[in-house]
């Protein structure tokens, strides 16, 4: 098989994953861990932006991404997919949301489906020491105000962009000129040849 085909065999996860899942201590052990994650994934799909602790958020992220990418791959008539959605989403109206709202939204999405930001650290939390890191986890395309300011509109005028844009224009203008010169030469040559 080609390299390209291998990647189509299963859903892609466009986020960094650890080699092993975290344990997430609960009284029920591994089962409790999955219960906790189900609640988190349900909450993320319901509210589309949640603030929680980093470890659980990172775990839930992987499961959410996989859920959405599988939903895109298999659609809502695929029985194992429905079972999966049924298991992970505790509120059943969200199963409808997954297939009818999130799938169309992320159809053409090339990157990940979720985004994670570090929530503000409150003193005495010190990055050099262990502390419970809080995080804001959200689905892309949510209707809330954006967390990071949308700076795409003014990027063009920053000095390095201005200089690079000018250089690019110059490069292409030069290329075109060279092209035209080549064509002129060619026509001249062909005229000469025809004369002979």
């Amino acid at each position: 098989m080609n390299q390209a085909e291998v990647t189509k065999l299963m859903s892609q996860l466009k986020i960094a994953l650890k080699p092993r899942h975290r344990n997430l201590k609960t009284p029920l052990g591994p089962e409790g861990r999955l219960d906790k994650l189900r609640q988190t994934v349900t909450a993320l799909i319901k509210y589309e932006r949640i603030e929680l602790f980093y470890n659980r958020a990172d775990e839930a992220r992987g499961y959410t991404e996989r859920l959405v990418s599988d939903a895109l791959r298999y659609g809502d008539t695929h029985k194992p997919m429905m079972e999966m959605a049924d298991y992970w989403l505790l509120e059943k109206q969200l199963v409808h949301k997954l297939f009818k709202v999130l799938c169309p939204r992320f159809e053409n999405e090339n990157g990940s489906v979720t985004k994670m930001f570090n929530a503000p650290r409150v003193y005495p939390a010190d990055p050099k020491r262990a502390y419970f890191k809080r995080v804001v986890l959200e689905l892309k395309g949510n209707p809330y105000p954006t967390i990071t300011p949308d700076s795409s509109y003014r990027n063009k005028n920053l000095i390095h962009n201005v200089l690079l844009d000018a250089a690019m224009k110059d490069f292409y203008a030069e290329k075109e000129r060279q092209q035209q010169l080549l064509e002129q030469e060619q026509t001249l040559n062909s005229v000469e040849e025809s004369k002979k």
């Binding site: 003014r154 005028n157 920053l158 000095i159 390095h160 201005v162 200089l163 690079l164 000018a166 250089a167 110059d170 490069f171």
Partner: protein, 337 residues
């Protein structure tokens, strides 16, 4: 006349000739010229400050971060930098250029003259075009100073001028005159020039502005024949007043606003020097590119800019004419600011 008398007269003549030559040379040594210029600058600066007299108050409405405030400042003494100092160090660090009443650009260390609204601009402001231009202009200005520092005295360096800044042309430019016929700096020379400029920048000089009368400016630049020719034009355009800028000990004539300090220049490259006049006159155009601090560009991308800047920058070339040292005609210029 006796031979003895003739001999002594001859000795006297040669010694006085030698004395005159040494005095001549000494008077015109670069170091002395710069010291003299700075002395005049300092005196004028002090005189203007003392001239303020009774301190009047102005209301400055500051619009920006962290909050919009009204400040009461001193007329003709307080600068936008002083206004920034009322807020925090972060505001002072960020401020590179000031905008008065929403339309007039103002240097950060230039005293405010009347009640106004003040906005402090930085490289990543909403509309950084004005700041970019000021940055490019400052780089041209400083390039002159750097060349004066590193080129030896026997090259006969005279700073001609620097034109209106144009970012799209791909480089900032300073035109100089040397008595060297074909100056082709090697790659190593250019690299050391770039490093010198970065060193100069890290000396963290505040860029000061001063308006002087035509006469004082003539006195300051009496050694530079090009400036002598340009000054009448400039002062005519500007009601007999010449604006000078100083960074460290380098002083030059310029109209436009400069950024507040040399510390904002972080990466500099001087990729080429082109000879821009033929025959007798030896005008060279030194071209450079620079980036402010806070902008990271990969070596590859910066190299692209450098490659482009190697080609002659044809913006605002001084019209070709003979060297003013040897002729009576002054070189005419387009938009020399």
């Amino acid at each position: 006349m006796t031979v003895h008398l003739q001999n002594s007269l001859w000795k006297l003549r040669t010694s006085s000739n030698a004395l005159y030559k040494s005095v001549y040379r000494r008077c015109f040594s670069t170091q002395d010229v710069i010291e003299h210029r700075n002395r005049l600058f300092n005196n004028e600066q002090k005189r203007q400050k003392d001239n303020v007299g009774r301190i009047e108050k102005i209301e400055v409405r500051y619009l920006g971060l962290p909050s919009n405030e009204t400040l009461i400042m001193n007329k003709n003494l307080s600068t936008p930098f002083n206004c920034a100092q009322h807020f925090s160090e972060a505001v002072c660090e960020n401020a590179v250029l000031a905008l008065i009443n929403g339309k007039k650009l103002w240097d950060i260390h230039r005293p405010l003259e009347e009640s106004c609204t003040l906005q402090l601009l930085h490289f990543k402001s909403q509309d950084p075009n004005l700041v970019n231009q000021a940055f490019w202009r400052t780089c041209s200005f400083l390039l002159g100073g750097v060349l004066q520092r590193i080129l030896k005295e026997n090259t006969g360096l005279h700073l001609h001028s620097f034109p209106y800044p144009s970012l799209k042309s791909g480089s900032f430019v300073h035109d100089i005159s040397l008595n060297v016929d074909n100056w082709n700096p090697s790659a190593q020379d250019l690299k050391s020039m770039s490093i010198e400029m970065m060193k100069f920048a890290t000396e963290n000089h505040n860029i000061e502005r001063l308006e002087v009368s035509h006469e004082i400016a003539l006195e300051m630049f009496k050694d530079n024949p090009f400036k002598r020719e340009q000054l009448p034009n400039i002062s005519n355009q500007n009601k007999g007043v010449i604006t000078l800028y100083r960074a460290g000990d380098h002083i030059d004539i310029s109209k436009g606003p400069m950024i507040s300090s040399t510390k904002y220049i972080s990466k500099v490259k001087i990729p080429s020097v082109h000879k821009i006049t033929k025959e007798d006159s030896n005008l060279y155009r030194v071209q450079g590119i620079a980036l402010p601090s806070g902008f990271t560009l990969s070596a590859y991308a910066f190299d692209i800019l450098g490659q482009r800047a190697k080609r002659l920058n044809t913006m605002y070339l001084p019209v070709e004419s003979a060297d003013p040292i040897h002729s009576d005609e002054a070189p005419s210029m387009q938009q020399r600011i």
